[in-house]
């Protein structure tokens, strides 16, 4: 429960540190702080409870996702130190925003009230708007920020309208109350419309088709670290919130929306994968692949009835960690070669075997090849989907998995078979650490998936 508070406090601390001229210490403080919070978070394990008038709920679900998000946050923070080295004066600002983003994400995994949910989304989004547009002189970054902002606020409007309708029907913002209301009475169309609007805005946030358009553009234009955050923290938090909302309050929404869910899932997976096929930009490729992963996670959402939190968590974990590794490598490559194209990876296998191997593993994990975490993620998701009778959509998903192998392997192919220009290549220890750690986690989770699956 305190995770959120401590994290907010840490954000504040970062700002204050700047004022106290402790610029050098900010990064260590932030990392250490996050690590401590991570530890505290773990101690919350098994303590179920609702706090502050059910505003914040602590249960294993929230703790697990908080842990994952904090882990990713630590990685991001570690990477940030180097990423913003040219703008040292603002590092505290950046760090503070990163941590605030994390706050938003944490709020999203542990809310108990629509107000917290709404605020969480907004904190997350607004911070990301800022980060997306934070490369001030880069028109692409500006454009990304603008696109994200415009579409995001539009989606917020829809979300709010949905919330209002729900409130109108149920008279409460509390998830428990809504849940009770929905199960006790036969909700009217107002409720379904509201839930539909919330659903749509959630689909937007997780970049599911046909509300995915913002994602590739924004991912591509934003600074890579921000993209990493959007792809990992934001998406995972959104899915956690999605799950939390729809597994509790809005479970009755599924029957009328069944076809919508199915269509959206199939469409998301298909569009994500097929569009990724022809991309030249690594980031953009990852963006589309992220869309397709959102589709796979949607597969978990539509099988909600069977309590798929485990599967979703595992998939999120696998996806988040592999994406993190991939983005970290992308940052390294971009910093050294100044390009985010797939061509930039040419010959990496010879020049930096470690990076190439790591990226290969990350890609294989995303493609779902055993014994990496991604494989088990896919396995659990498919397994849940089949268990809940979504056989055909699973077949679609499988066919798409095959397609996805193509573009993941394209990168691997580029690294190992193409020749490169010789340039100096530096790799900061923080990056090596993050990448190495991610790879380790991928293997661990792949070989001992029991470590994570038994959690929820």
């Amino acid at each position: 429960m305190n995770t959120l508070i401590y994290t907010s406090a840490l954000g504040l601390l970062c700002m204050l540190a700047e004022m106290a001229n402790l610029r050098k210490l900010i990064l260590p403080i932030a990392v250490a702080g996050l690590c401590v919070i991570f530890g505290l978070n773990v101690t919350d394990w098994g303590k179920n409870g609702a706090y502050y008038h059910n505003m914040v709920v602590t249960d294993n679900f929230s703790v697990a996702f908080s842990g994952l998000l904090l882990l990713l946050g630590i990685f991001i923070t570690l990477l940030a130190g180097n990423f913003y080295k040219n703008e040292e004066s603002k590092i505290s600002d950046y760090l503070a925003i990163i941590i605030f983003t994390l706050c938003g994400a944490l709020a999203l995994v542990s809310f108990g009230n629509l107000a917290m949910f709404f605020l969480g989304i907004e904190v997350l989004s607004i911070s990301l708007y800022i980060l997306a547009g934070s490369k001030k002189k880069d028109v692409r970054s500006n454009e990304a920020g603008m696109k994200y902002f415009l579409m995001g606020s539009f989606a917020s409007g829809i979300l709010l309208f949905g919330v209002a309708l729900i409130y109108g029907e149920t008279g409460s913002f509390d998830l428990g109350a809504i849940s009770n209301y929905a199960s006790a009475t036969h909700p009217s169309v107002l409720f379904y419309a509201g839930a539909g609007m919330i659903l749509i805005s959630m689909l937007f946030k997780v970049s599911a088709a046909p509300f995915h358009f913002w994602a590739p553009d924004v991912y591509e234009g934003s600074p890579t670290l921000t993209t990493a955050m959007m792809a990992t923290i934001a998406k995972i938090a959104a899915f956690a919130a999605f799950y939390r909302l729809f597994s509790h309050a809005f479970i009755s929404v599924f029957p009328p929306y069944a076809w919508v869910f199915t269509a959206v899932t199939a469409l998301t997976i298909t569009i994500g994968n097929f569009t990724a096929l022809n991309q030249d930009s690594f980031k953009r490729m990852l963006a589309f692949s992220g869309i397709s992963h959102a589709g796979y996670l949607m597969l978990g959402i539509i099988s909600l009835y069977g309590k798929t939190d485990n599967a979703i968590f595992f998939y999120s974990f696998a996806y988040g960690i592999s994406s993190m590794a991939a983005f970290a490598i992308a940052i390294v490559v971009a910093m050294n070669l100044g390009s985010e194209k797939i061509e930039a990876f040419n010959g990496l296998g010879k020049r930096k075997p470690f990076l190439a191997a790591a990226l290969t593993i990350a890609m294989l994990s995303m493609a779902g090849i055993p014994p990496l975490a991604g494989f088990f993620g896919k396995y659990y998701i498919f397994s849940e989907a089949i268990r809940n009778g979504h056989l055909w959509i699973t077949v679609v998903a499988v066919i798409n998995s095959i397609v996805s192998v193509y573009y993941y392997m394209k990168v691997v192919l580029a690294m190992y078979t193409k020749d490169s220009v010789e340039t100096a290549f530096t790799l900061k220890p923080a990056y090596s650490f993050v990448i190495g750690f991610c790879i380790l986690l991928l293997f661990l989770a792949g070989i001992f998936p029991g470590l994570l699956t038994g959690l929820l």
Partner: protein, 110 residues
Amino acid sequence: MMNVMLSIFSVVPIQYYIFISAVLFCIGVLGVLFRRNAIIIFMSVELMLNSVNLLLVAFSAYHNDASGQVFVFFVMAVAAAEVAVGLSILVTIYRNVHSVDIDELKSLKH
């Protein structure tokens, strides 16, 4: 005030508030879709948010529950924050391209 209050729902059913909010919301949507000027789009979004606020307040009164009104505060807060951030993004864009026309922002595609 009491008389007014009572008369409101006796004269104007809650449905009407729902409808007016929906219409207002749609006008906001129309604005977003219709215009190219980013500032006006922002304003249209504000309009959308306001329609929601109106709805919330109406429901709040309807349910006789203050939390709806409290929520409006949060919406306002968010709106304010959004506007601040949005406008600052706009300013940076304007500095770079000297335009607030969203249709000129097309460098990221495919």
